[in-house]
């Protein structure tokens, strides 16, 4: 397995270089360093001297990919792309164009993002699996049919609707929780309850339908018939036999998203005033803050690759037929 991991990590390097290259090309196609300087300086009258000073301080006075004024290897290394990419691979995100430490910002925003994303993920997983098992238990009944209709209805409505409706119902009309906001420690519970509840509910339709189909595949397997023939109750069959066998596709589908939980949710965090990472990249794009954009794209790619590696590992751990 260690050999496999090393191989996968080495494969990740060219992927990350490629992602970085695309980020650089796309960003600088839309924004020139002069535009970035103007946006950051925020002055009503921006002079060439101001722009030059800003570009020099942030290193944007260097050529992007090829430095014709340098000599030898420096023609390639003394460029914005190589200098910034190298730092990223060392996880040195540097300072934003607005002069804030990016690593410190990510660290301080990751907690609030996780305070919603992680409980939502776990509660949704448990709820979806439980409901899916219940539907499998009552498969073909009116209950199953009506729940499937409800699931499709839940899936069909935009997540934004749930957010606004949830805020109106639970906060504005019933006065149960704050409409938005955040606090540190235990105080945060009352702020995250509603976003978590909405997050779980909004994902209920798709989750339950998916897990139900996985469990239904198992229901007709020979081992299930054998278990029933042994005289086990339907609940015992579900929990002791169907659930463990159905967990393999569920785990592999779920593990891949775990690392990306750190990145937060843009809409949820905006509406609930959660100071997480969700809007960090979008705000940076709007502010033309390339330092943050490249750092977040890089981090997102790393987490995605990590998710894929974890998925492979989980295959090997849970399915004895698979070896890495």
């Amino acid at each position: 397995m260690i050999g496999y991991l090393i191989r996968r990590i080495l494969y990740a390097v060219p992927i990350l270089v490629g992602v970085n290259l695309i980020t650089f090309v796309l960003f600088f196609m839309v924004n020139t360093p002069d535009d970035m300087a103007r946006a950051q300086l925020g002055a009503k009258q921006t002079t060439p001297a101001m722009i030059q000073a800003w570009k020099h301080e942030h290193g944007y006075d260097k050529p992007l990919f090829y430095n014709s004024s340098a000599k030898g290897i420096e023609q390639v290394t003394d460029t914005l792309f190589v200098r910034e990419s190298f730092r990223l691979f060392l996880f040195d995100f540097g300072r934003s164009d607005a002069n804030r430490d990016i690593a410190e910002d990510i660290k301080s925003r990751m907690g609030p993002s996780l305070s919603i994303a992680l409980p939502t993920f776990l509660i949704a997983l448990v709820t979806n699996i439980t409901l899916a098992l219940l539907l499998v238990l009552f498969r073909g009944s009116v209950f199953d049919l009506s729940m499937m209709i409800v699931a499709v209805m839940i899936m069909s409505v935009s997540g934004l609707f749930y957010i606004i409706a949830g805020q109106v119902l639970f906060s504005k009309i019933w006065h149960w929780v704050p409409i938005s906001g955040y606090a540190e420690g235990w105080e945060s519970i009352k702020f995250v309850l509603l976003p978590i509840a909405i997050g779980v509910f909004a994902g209920l339709g798709a989750g339950v339908r998916w897990y139900r189909s996985i469990f239904l595949e198992q229901v007709h397997q020979d081992y299930v018939r054998t278990a029933r023939a042994k005289g086990l109750s339907e609940i015992a069959v579900l929990f002791r036999h169907i659930l463990p066998n159905g967990m393999l596709p569920i785990l592999t589908g779920v593990v891949v998203v775990i690392p990306s939980l750190f990145m937060g949710s843009l809409i949820m965090e905006s509406f609930f005033g959660i100071p997480g990472l969700g809007s960090y990249t979008i705000d940076a794009i709007n502010a033309q803050d390339f330092a943050i954009v490249k750092a977040m794209v890089f981090l997102g790619s790393v987490l995605y690759i990590l998710g894929l590696i974890l998925t492979d590992i989980s295959y090997a751990l849970f399915d004895p037929r698979v070896t890495l």
Partner: protein, 720 residues
Amino acid sequence: MLIILLHPTLFASVWNSPYPEREMKGNTLFGVFSSPPKHLDPVLSYNANEWHIIGQIYEPPLQYNYLKRPYQLEPLTLTSMPKITYLDMSGREVKKTDKTVAYTRYRLHFRNDIFYHEDPVFAKQQDGTLLYGALSNSMIEKLHSTSDLPIHATRHLQASDYAYAIKRMAVRQYHSPVLDTMMQYIVGLDQFSVQISKIAAETFRQHKKLDLRPYHIKGVQVQDNETLDIVIHGKYPQFLYWLSMYFFSPIPWEADLFYQQEGLKHKNLTLDTQPVGTGPYYLAVNNPNRRIVLKRNLHFHREYYPSLTPKEAESASIERQLLRDSGKQLPFIDKAVYTLEKENIPLWNKFLQGYYDASGISSEAFDQAIQIGTGGEMGLSDAMRKRGIRMLSSVSPSVFYMAFNMEDPVVGGYSPAKQKLRQAISIAQDQEEYIAIFMNGRGIAAQGPIPPGIFGYEKGKAGTDLYVYDWENGKRVRKNIETAKELLAQAGYPGGISMKTGKRLKLYYDTVATGPDDRALMEWRRKQFAKLGIDLVIRATDYNRFQEKVRKGKVQIFSWGWNADYPDPENFLFLLYGGNAVVDTNGSGINSTNYKNPEFDALFREIKTMDNTPQRLQKIEKMIKIAQKDAPWVWGVFPTSFTLLHGWFRNVSANAMANNTLKYKRIDVKQRLKQQIQWNQPVYAPLFWIVFIAAILILGMVRIYRKAQNVTLKRDEVQS
């Protein structure tokens, strides 16, 4: 159920309060900010959101009187207004009217009873060096904020702190947005900037701290602890307004050196995030992504709520309630909590619940908040009045206009035909309709570049653009479209068809309004031009490209806006001064329409250095008439801002120029708490319904399950 069971404030009087109970019961203001402030360093900050915060912390020498109108400057940290002396080239004092005036000296005499708020930057060792000037990495690692450091101290404000701030402004690496403007005025600032920026580059390269105390600007002289002289080139009366801006806030050298420590920068603890000032408040919490908390500065100097004579109160339309605290010591509020609210819906609902003391009116909430009377006048809706909410409205010192590029061969130029073409387009643009449709009536149609409240603005017929409006029965009436068509024909485009080419006139409008919400606006624009038979082509572009096109003069027609830096007509008229034409200044000029009229320019140079006298007013009127005839802009709109205030929020006066207004405001905490509890009682009934439905569902499922388990298969079913 989960929500209720896990609720940490299950036994509190209200469940939905976003604040801890101690904060709700305290003398605290609850406000919002819509985007995280990027810079709190006064050398850098140039944004209303940021000034709203630092305005409570830093104190420049002057401030705007909170209540007097027109806006009037008064001493803030000075004992009196600056003493102004005019000097000739040799430095000899001369009369103001003397033609040999080469310099103006502003002598600033500071109060000696002003202290900074307590801060660890002032903690010193016995030898006078900073106690925390060289923090170890392990100490820095433990810090969440510099206030975690145990020893805090304060010191007197000194004239040298203001000189230090100007020296910081000169350092290119600090990116002051006004350095290039100030270099034109402050004597020696340009040479000093070149010199100190070189030193700074070398110092920063060696990772050393830059101490500006040993360096001096020729035109900025510290006479003693309380006296500072600033000498500027020639005459520039608007310099006084600059002295009320935060670029001229005092910076203690201790704070500058303390925050240059490398380790602190990695924790985002810099002067850009941790202001150190003498104002009524200090920054207690700075989480720009969530909330900003200001607390009362216990060392704040004596300052009193302003008083007005009955005549002044009448001319400024000041209500009596606003004068109840006259003469009382400031500030009234102990703490201010500002929360980041990016979305309008939560903000509005929290305001209605009483968790914010004031709110603007978003388009989503407009119908709920405002009702329009039969005469078109706007007032609060009954629902708002029942809650004791009040409305404050004022015309902002801003202008939004549609500009013609005067360098453009089709719409630009100064010939009578070109003037008539632009006048015709100006008439066709129905600004009143625009304001009603797209601004919910929140604005007034402009007649020139100067908004109400600024010297030079005139009401009535005298202030009417008679090229666009008629004055009928004491009212402005937009000229009819036939007049516009006639002008267009005289310009060489009868019915919108060019007499030269026989083709329909096609004009190009550049805009950044590319979203789906902007479609209606663009359609409206097309319609306005279509009234004259002109085809309008919308060229949508991103903001960077749009700016570039404007800078290079590659636009034909576009919309633009301006917010006043200071309440002087010069700050608006310079938008049309030929010397500021954007194409002639390598893109750094402010005159984006490239309007250049020698007569207008000559008058501008005169009014620029004049006091607000009848002679100045006369010249300004003349300038506006010239501009109205040339019509480089379709004058557009002066926006009106509306603010809603709860009944418990007092002493709030609309002052668009002052940012340091928190100290004047007052909260009736008891009333607020009472109404918050009254408005936010939890509703229990849905809880019982949820339990009831869940119980029925569970029981039903158990029953179905048991039934299914007890089914005995019949013989034929088994066989099949």
